[in-house]
Symmetry: D2
Subunit: 336 residues, 4 copies
């Protein structure tokens, strides 16, 4: 950590700062120039609150050299994390394909799609029971009943399931769920993240609409520092000025996250681009860029979906996409 001081700082304040930092176990190196005075901190600066330092009158700027996350950091955990849920595996060369509708609508719907996506090659099934919708007048999901339908589909097909939690109080309903999803709008719902830190299940953590990759890793760190190291990172599009697509899918997140962290990285092309006919090219791009998994919206009859229709592809389109993903995965493996 580098602290740029104002020229001719108050001596007492400077001594106080030095004492405070030394007490945290840090070593201090001073560099005096003609137009600048710089303090370099050596040691574990993860616990240093840069805001506190910036607040000091004598400080001009503070810059981190080290990343502020530990558990999620590849530097301290060089090997890929491999996560298994209900028989499906992601990370360390294992590719995980999740498919299913945006919302659970009925027992028949979810069991039907489960059969079809399983036949097409999906390893897990997704479906929303609790639905975050920007309008209070839009369909809010079947909630508890939706989860019971998902569990029936799991029993019928053997496909493990992933579904979204929206509040700590819903946790008891997730006992038989294989992976718990935290949605983009809850990426910084820190009370929820803390609670999930003590759950013994993988968490599929979606990146917030306007969160940096560092904030994303800090949210993973919230879960991991609570003791749950099974976090899957999922990029699902960020908010930009562009309106031609629903969000802007940030595929650069794949190489960047995989370099910074050992956690598996999944892509959700459906929510990102928001246009069903463009889901296939973005899925293939994600695989080519090195994604560890995909989570794709599939709906029997897109026209009748109760929510997020425009981004859902049909089971047939999904099967056709899988037939293009597989040779691409093989090609990718050959070059690794």
């Amino acid at each position: 950590m580098i602290i740029s001081l104002k020229m001719n700082p108050d001596t007492e304040q400077l001594e106080n700062l030095k004492t405070w930092l030394t007490n945290m176990g840090l070593e201090i190196h001073m560099s005096q120039g003609t137009r600048s005075l710089v303090m370099g901190l050596i040691g574990d600066t993860t616990v240093v609150d840069t805001d506190l330092i910036l607040a000091l009158d004598i400080v001009e700027d503070v810059k981190r050299i080290q990343e502020p996350y530990k558990n999620a950091n590849r530097k301290f955990h060089p090997d890929d994390t491999v996560i298994t849920a209900g028989g499906a595996t992601i990370g360390g060369g294992h590719f995980m394909l999740i498919a299913g509708p945006c919302s659970v609508e009925s027992r028949e719907q979810i069991c039907g799609i489960a059969q079809e996506v399983k036949a097409a090659g999906a390893h897990m099934m997704r479906g929303g029971a609790f639905k975050p919708r920007s309008s209070p007048y839009a369909f809010q999901g079947l909630r508890g009943e939706g989860i019971s339908f998902l569990l029936e589909a799991k029993r019928e097909t053997g496909l493990p399931i992933v579904t979204e939690i929206m509040d700590v109080s819903q946790l008891p309903l997730f006992e038989e769920v294989d992976i718990i999803q935290v949605g983009a709008r809850n990426m910084q719902n820190f009370e929820l993240l803390k609670e999930l830190g003590s759950v013994n299940k993988p968490i599929l953590l979606k990146r917030g609409l306007a969160n940096t990759l560092e904030e994303f890793l800090m949210s993973a760190e919230y879960i991991m520092s609570g003791g749950n190291s099974k976090v899957i990172l999922c990029e699902r599009g960020i908010r930009t000025f562009e309106t031609a697509t629903r969000n802007t899918l940030d595929l650069s997140a794949i190489p960047v996250l995989k370099e910074l962290s050992h956690l598996p990285v999944m892509i959700d092309p459906s929510h990102a681009i928001g246009i069903a006919r463009h889901v296939a090219p973005m899925s293939l791009a994600a695989v080519a860029a090195g994604a560890d998994g995909l989570i794709i919206e599939v709906h029997h009859n897109p026209a009748a979906a109760l929510c997020d229709g425009p981004q859902s592809i049909t089971p047939a389109a999904f099967a056709s996409l899988v037939s293009r993903i597989n040779p691409l995965l093989q090609l990718r493996a050959e070059f690794q």
Copy 2:
């Protein structure tokens, strides 16, 4: 609502769509051109889920003409909403000035600042007990104890208090709190918003970092549709590409929100710009633009704040700012 159809749409699908819309009480006007086919909907389209329509094969695009919110809409409630909390009032010409530290740190700290900001002219006191921090290693607030310190300060000074809730489960602790704040990161925590819809207290709702003004009003609508109409909208800076300031304070939100909605609009210049010495000019700008209130971070000794230090001004700087706000308010009143 305007639905642009693809040329030569499937007749059966078109009839199904028409029937569905007619059953919702909407009237349909068709316009056929040489290169387009457009369906205009007349009636209350608030309940129409545009995503469902967009999902149809025969549809090219859907555009709303009416706003998707009702309770928050000035069209249906032309007069300004006036909200009173613990004796302080906002809206309809009443200006509310809230001040206090980012975090509650101790009984002495919060009582001391309360005295000072009251003397300087604040109508309410703020202070965070539950703190949303991007790092799990940063100070998370005194939580329940913090609220008890705030209540002591309230008893000592008579200043009503506003403090942030982060999870539904914390609600019992807020019984004597005058205004409940929902932070930017929870603007779309819909489960929390629904719960606050049945609370009989004003809610200070902060705009999310990357949320549009329409989404902001939809979140207010979540609370209002639950029965609680006392919502104060608070702009606190949005996330843009600019890094010279912490966020970009969007003062245009003032005239736009006040035209679209009857709810009072408050500005938080401290979190927005994130630089203490620039809080004063942005506060004055907010007043000149027509804000109904300001919420300003004030700290006894900025250098020692446990969080968000860089954006806090001292009680003396606050008093000086108030002495500039008051004549500006008077000037503003003369021109209304």
Copy 3:
């Protein structure tokens, strides 16, 4: 085009508007609802200036149904445009690979790299002679001399060349250049675009840092409406809040642009991500998503590049990348 009128508009103004629109050859359909009054325009609305209409007192909003571009529009030109320059071809199934350094530094440098990228499989060579740099103190390019070095490299290797123009006055120097590049900062330098409309050479038009895909196509339309239909669209990253990468590469632009337009779409992964070791995964992703070409920065010794060093890969890394692109292109062709 849909014009939403205010309720009870001034009759005379409404009649004036109708006359004006009818005189432009448009047919008008009115839809009157209880809370809205909507005017639908049928015909060629490309020439209608929406700003003019929005300025009218009686108008609330204007929404386009048709795209405001014609020459670049796939609706009027369903087949892919195929562009050939100096023997290299792009579009309609032809993939074009361009490689070379950010800046031309010397005759030896550019001829050396030209040999190497040709051997590795590049179809064209790039190299900047005129360099747009945000600082006036940074290297501004070898300018005219740089172009002469590029032409020598072309003569030696037979590789056609692409290089950037920054001002109309530089045009005479580009006579033997095969493709003229317009950089991101000049995407809306309309005087330059108009001038290039009368040039008989392909133009590689880069998307601006904060320009929408519609604005991008409008800039292509500037060139095409002048008579030059040989425009290659190049996505090179957009500016977002994310700071982990130099820009955010928007690969969604590929399927979206290729659907809206018949022009070839190229990707510049080097400028987009700005980190040499992440150029390969983003290149492969672009190919998987359907890009018609790639323009990649290659430098002999990245550490010594006079500009934009961090994003350049070595000739060896480029050769290795080409050996992965080729089987991917083959796989892609099989599925089309």
Copy 4:
């Protein structure tokens, strides 16, 4: 400047870097930690190209401590720059009010508005002769004829004029123009900026849609390093995700720019918000925040403007706004 090195860097490369930096007159301080190795540079680092350093294998990151601009930097020029053009003055406590239509349409139009804005209190007149329009089919301005109309209006009213240049080749037409405007889309048209560096006239430089304040100051530096120190900085809204306003007016730019630079800072509320009825509150906010001037679009009959209509106010609305700006300026002066 702080250079973070990789652990255990190649000794020869490190020595080469040190020699290169020392030859530039910089002093080097090394700090070795357990997990980091940092090099601090002391001296004038303005001329150091950070990209070159970042490109080195042994370097992990480079961070500037000093600003990369000199001429525009308040550190080297503590007093406000005061600029006078045709009798109107801006900076150092002088407030400049510019008004006029977006486009020059006819002699009568521009002379008429000139009379009215002068009577209302404007110090200068604006009007576009060369118009940057995103569509090639939109009105492109009267060009040379437009400038001659502006000059007639100047002769008739005595109001000095400001108008936009779009290309170096247009410069001869600007001989009698008092202030030359560089539009947002040309903020990084470096060839144009260089040319304006040798012109003996004030330049009104508008901030680009997606340019940081540092880039903005670097563009001013381009002009100033050429010898022309009369640069007026103008914030006119930046591009964000918000669609309720045309752009997001970044008023934080006022205190930030005035701290970093001695150049006067002007605000263009009309282009920023793009909605005529919201121009007044944003103008007052700009004054309250400390702006040195305003440039406001005024049009006789907004409904008939040939471009940018929605953001123009009438002469009567302008006069009313001026009657509110003046007492605000007086109040502001009392507190300085």
